[in-house]
């Protein structure tokens, strides 16, 4: 108990606290920006980020991962907020949390194994594009000052770390915000600021039950939003967990993370926050800044709230252009640069899966649809590929007038047509032997095809004998498992 407490919280105090502060500073502009995407007051996103970060620090399954209000979730709430208002969003957030907790208990985290790497890459890239697109309204129909500010902001973010000594200790996004705010205040430019976008928090969050009627009608309004929110939240969290796993060379508890995300969202809904999930960009920043344990996540959440409460007078003066610059950085940092370079190296089917995921997300603004399309497509490509692993050879024994067909490989829905085409039904022979002892029949389609072939040969007047059907059809049984019986591998591969 003491040991795990030490390992999870206190093994890296200095790195965790520093990283937590850096993350908190980067979370503030993001939480405000994502609230604006969702169409709610900045305080909704800020309360949510505080609450989710703090709760997930205790109940999450991936130490060192940052969770808060996110773009992926915000884009899903837009129409709900527009048509029904904030209270329904809070109710939907609660329901999202409940669904995620259920998913955790059903161990749906392990379903991530069906999401292939190219789908993950597509998801990440689509997310980056969504974050970037969400900034466009701030950059259209504005004066040249805004463009200049944004460009200067990006310049500071990427060039400031190159300054010796101070560059490595002051977070450059913070410098960008401070400098641009100062410039805007001093010159008195008439550009949009955070204060124009809605209320900021002025008190500690308080417990409040969403003010919605508790009836079936409400459920029917929020359920269509809660389901995709729950799915997208878990998907992004699982993917982020994988990224943090890779970076830190450690493992995470996915089902605990599912439950943790759910609890965090329930908490967020109860203090007037929006739904959130793990953040890819912030988690990378956290690891880069030296954060490794739960302490960094907790520090980020607590420090975020302290900053927001202390500095609310300053926060309202931040020009939107500075936030846009930070968000463009997040979008660039989230985008997987490697995936562009790898387009030439990877097989076409993999690229198509990745690109389809991106296109579907950008078209529907719903990451769940994109992932669904990607997973389906990847499964189809896989079925198609495995379907090629089927070969039928044959030989004729003239003395007995017997044609022997030997089937090798995988017979299932995708290869059953090819299986049928491999038989020469027009050849007139007395006996036909179909040797299946080196084939695997995976489904009912394959068995149906074999039945059809046998009947066809009989109609031509041949005697048909099928060899090895029992071994070949062992794979049809659901739960045919090799993993728990080591000798089953030989049985499966050898016959």
């Amino acid at each position: 108990m003491v040991n795990s407490l030490k390992a999870n919280w206190l093994s890296n105090i200095r790195g965790d606290v520093l990283a937590g502060i850096v993350v908190a500073l980067a979370l503030i502009p993001e939480a405000i920006a994502f609230s604006i995407i969702a169409g709610v007051d900045p305080k909704v996103g800020l309360y949510a980020s505080f609450c989710i970060a703090v709760i997930i620090a205790f109940v999450g399954g991936r130490p060192g991962m940052i969770s808060a209000a996110t773009a992926a979730m915000a884009v899903l709430m837009v129409t709900l907020v527009k048509e029904h208002g904030l209270q329904y969003l809070l109710a939907a957030t609660l329901l999202t949390g409940v669904l995620q907790v259920i998913a955790g208990y059903l161990k749906l985290g392990s379903l991530m194994r069906f999401v292939s790497r190219s789908v993950v890459t597509g998801f990440v890239n689509a997310l980056a594009i969504l974050i970037f697109m969400a900034q466009l309204p701030e950059l259209t129909n504005v004066t040249w000052h805004v463009y200049a500010m944004t460009a200067a902001g990006l310049g500071i973010i990427y060039l400031f770390p190159l300054v010796p000594v101070v560059g490595k200790v002051l977070p450059s996004p913070l410098v960008c915000i401070v400098v641009l705010t100062a410039v805007a205040v001093v010159t008195g430019l008439d550009i949009r600021t955070v204060g124009d976008m809605g209320d900021l928090p002025d008190t500690l969050p308080v417990f409040l039950w969403p003010d919605v009627p508790l009836n079936l009608e409400t459920l029917m309004i929020i359920l269509p939003y809660s389901i995709p929110l729950a799915i997208v939240g878990l998907l992004e969290s699982m993917m982020t967990a994988t990224i943090v796993d890779d970076l830190t060379d450690t493992t995470s508890d996915r089902n605990r993370e599912c439950k943790g995300q759910g609890i965090a969202n329930i908490g967020s809904g109860l203090i007037g926050g929006m739904a959130g999930c793990a953040m890819i960009g912030q988690s990378i920043i956290n690891v880069k800044s030296g954060g490794r344990t739960r302490l960094s996540t907790l520090t980020a959440g607590v420090f975020l709230l302290i900053m927001v409460l202390l500095l609310d007078n300053v926060l309202v003066q931040i020009p939107m252009a500075a936030l846009v610059a930070v968000m463009i950085m997040v979008s660039i940092g989230t985008f997987s640069w490697d995936s562009i370079r790898n387009l030439r190296k990877h097989p076409l089917s993999t690229n198509i899966v990745m690109l389809v995921t991106v296109v579907v997300v950008v078209a529907t603004h719903n990451l769940a649809f994109g992932v669904l399309a990607g997973v389906l497509l990847a499964a189809l490509f896989f079925a198609n590929k495995v379907g090629h692993y089927m070969l039928v050879t044959s030989e004729l024994d003239e003395t007995t007038d017997t044609r022997t067909y030997r089937v090798v490989g995988q017979v299932f829905f995708s290869s059953s047509e090819k299986f049928m085409e491999s038989f020469d039904f027009k050849e007139a022979v007395d006996n036909v032997v179909i040797d299946l002892s080196r084939a695997h029949f995976w489904d009912i389609t394959a068995v149906g095809a074999l039945d059809k072939a046998v009947i066809k040969f009989r109609r031509e007047g041949s005697e048909v004998e099928v060899i090895g059907l029992n071994e070949a059809s062992a794979t049809i049984v659901d739960r045919f498992g090799v993993h728990d019986k080591p000798d089953a591998v030989d049985q499966l591969m050898g016959h």
């Binding site: 108990m1 040991n3 093994s11 890296n12 790195g15 520093l18 990283a19 850096v22 993350v23 500073l25 980067a26 973010i157 990427y158 400031f160 770390p161 560059g167 490595k168 200790v169 002051l170 977070p171 450059s172 996004p173 913070l174 990224i243 890779d246 970076l247 830190t248 060379d249 450690t250 960009g281 990378i284 920043i285 690891v287 880069k288 800044s289 030296g290 954060g291 490794r292 950085m329 997040v330 660039i332 940092g333 989230t334 985008f335 997987s336 640069w337 490697d338």
Partner: protein, 283 residues
């Protein structure tokens, strides 16, 4: 194949661990395994607080962290090889023929648990690498290891002396009888003078339990002494040990939950803290 597993690290106890393991291996006629666990801190020393991420940040970061880990792990691996070779030399000189070396990455407890089904006896130093003040501190991971392993563990001090006598801390419980049974079946204490000691009031019941245990140990052909002492468990046992000049103390460990231990403390922990001679803990 079951082995005597000796946990080697960079601590002062390492040579003694080798010697005691060699002694146990000889008496138990069980081959040895020298184990070194690479339980490295992976936290990078220099955090980059720039807080920005650009194109390819993740790939770059992964590369940097992997490179850092690679360098550290390589050094640690080499260091471990040296320690294991040194240890092997030592036990070969002590006359042990069959020795294998193993290195594992990860947490000590996890690594030991992974090897549990190959372990007959685990030999560890009382003081670990990180507990430099060796008079007061018990190795930092000892308790977790004792609580999770279900094999006898021989805990040794920093200096080796050939064991000549042994005592068994006995409390008459079912677990204690199991411990007696285990000793009766093991050749390690064969022929050695053995003391069965109970702490508590001197009653007939207790003498009966002691005699029952004595009978179970008849097969060892040892000279068995029975004793009952009054007082607190830990001081009484140590006092008896000193008085009779006993080399090895055998005892059960952590009979109570962690919660009880948190509230009232644990005899086992106190025994470990004050031990000057080797201890065998049975779970």
């Amino acid at each position: 194949m079951l082995r005597v597993v000796a946990c080697i690290d960079g601590s002062q106890a390492a040579p003694a661990v080798c010697d005691y393991a060699a002694w146990a291996s000889k008496h138990m006629e069980t081959p040895m395994m020298l184990l070194h666990v690479l339980d490295e801190e992976r936290y990078p020393a220099e955090p980059d607080l720039a807080g920005n991420i650009g194109l390819g940040s993740r790939e770059q970061l992964l590369e940097d962290l992997a490179e850092l880990d690679r360098k550290r792990a390589k050094l640690a691996l080499e260091h471990g090889h040296h320690m294991l070779d040194e240890a092997q030399k030592r036990v070969t000189e002590a006359g042990i023929g069959e020795v294998i070396q193993r290195q594992r990455h990860g947490d000590l407890t996890e690594s030991l648990l992974a090897l549990e089904n190959q372990t007959r006896l685990l030999v560890m130093g009382l003081h670990g690498e990180s507990s430099s003040d060796r008079d007061t501190h018990v190795g930092s991971q000892l308790e977790t290891v004792i609580r999770s392993m279900h094999r006898p563990i021989l805990l040794v001090p920093d200096e080796y002396t050939e064991p000549r006598s042994a005592m068994l801390a006995f409390d008459g419980s079912a677990t204690a009888f199991k411990g007696v049974e285990l000793l009766a079946g093991s050749p390690v204490l064969k022929g050695m003078p053995l003391h069965l000691v109970m702490v508590g009031p001197d009653t007939n019941d207790r003498w009966e339990q002691l005699r029952k245990a004595e009978k179970m140990l008849a097969g060892l052909e040892s000279e068995i002494t029975l004793a009952i002492r009054a007082g607190d468990v830990e001081p009484a046992l140590h006092a008896y040990q000193e008085e009779q000049d006993i080399d090895i103390l055998v005892m059960g460990a952590y009979g109570h939950s962690r919660i009880r231990q948190f509230l009232v403390g644990s005899t086992t922990t106190r025994m470990l803290e004050t031990a000057r001679k080797p201890l065998v803990v049975l779970r």
